[in-house]
Symmetry: D2
Subunit: 135 residues, 4 copies
């Protein structure tokens, strides 16, 4: 399992008139955490896109258990639990003060800029697989 | 089954650098469609909130099959397929030119402004149930 | 003067915990109105971008006089008051029930996809100028 | 002059199809920086709101000189240049690699939750004024 921890401060702009963080914004937090997990594997999402690899979201899911509020210090625990094949899944836990507030996952694949499904770059596969072999 | 059709024009601000509508924004489209479905049942979400009823999202899910683009005229087909109990679920289909691009659902419950789960207002239950009885 | 009227329904997602539409979202409303003004001149912003013309925002300004709320039916009065030269300016008035809530403007220029300033396409100049000559 | 430095990583969700950070999102960055400036003066915006003080935006302005991109490490230099009276103004400079990309300002006042203009809390005035006297 590959894991990563990301800290996010909840923004005022992210709240809605219910006085809590708007549910749609959690998917942005998932993305920030996902990109950081890749960064920690030395995989730059920015560079991937420049090399004509896009990683669109095929599916996104979130279960909201407890709200979070403006100025909260949010912890996102991110993990890839199974070696990627054509698709890969990332799981997320959103916590505030060690309390689990939201869980979710996203499912991804690789396409090129024309929208054609392609294999992930060798480097990506190697870095990810190296991690799973280690265990 | 209760159904509703909503038309949305994809905004420039809703795109990302992949050149498509950012995945997180579909949950806002779902919400617009959900609120319109309630409007068509003569249930004003704005009024519900003023009467101390909040309808938070417990779960949100979207499956992205095809991208949508800036300026696309989007159709959202919204439906409530089963009579609400403590929770209720709303289903969504996002289409462009009759082509299904995204499907999704959200799960909801009623709480008051203190966050305490409460029964939906009588009026809400009656209007929704009336619809299911009709059929 | 070229003018246009756009109607927008304030979205729940656009509110913040102050219970009003978040100030940053007015710039998205300005954009929707600006694109509609161009549409009414038979200038498709989408097509312009495909032809390698981008119209970035050089400056954006808004003066917030009265708040707007979720579900409000917003009217945006958009106008181009002077013939465009290298730059062009668009002015906006945001009204709710004929009450002026926000005024603002944006300043624009034309660049190509490499970021190089370029002349606007002939068609754009002709359509805009035709309008100013008419008057 | 009161000054503060804030670091922000540009999010993927903040880009648009022009491949740059969407202009409307700079106002969210201004807000993050403004709240941090207050934090550094030991003024919690969150606490102010709980004490029934709101600080809405009366005016917002941004001049976009150079674009910023996904994953850029952004520096926001924030300053209050004149002692607040009924209104107060905050100025911003957005830099990437020491290059000035955007400048802007926001103008604010204090209201209570009913929307009535009120004096800022004593603590706020004292902390701000103390700073200007020091100099």
């Amino acid at each position: 399992m590959i894991t990563s921890i990301t800290q996010i401060r909840a923004r005022y702009a992210e709240t809605d008139q219910m006085g809590i963080v708007y549910h749609g914004n959690y998917f942005t937090w998932f993305e920030i955490a996902r990109i950081q997990l890749l960064d920690e594997l030395n995989i730059s999402y920015k560079k991937l896109e420049k090399q004509n690899y896009l990683i669109p979201v095929l599916e996104a899911n979130a279960q909201f258990k407890k709200p979070t509020y403006f100025d909260d210090l949010i912890t996102v625990k991110t993990s890839i639990k199974t070696p990627p094949s054509v698709k890969f899944r990332v799981d997320y836990e959103i916590l505030r003060n060690n309390e689990l507030c939201t869980t979710g996952y996203t499912l991804h694949t690789f396409i090129n800029k024309k929208g054609i499904p392609i294999r992930p770059p060798k480097e990506f596969i190697e870095k990810i697989n190296a991690f799973f072999k280690k265990k």
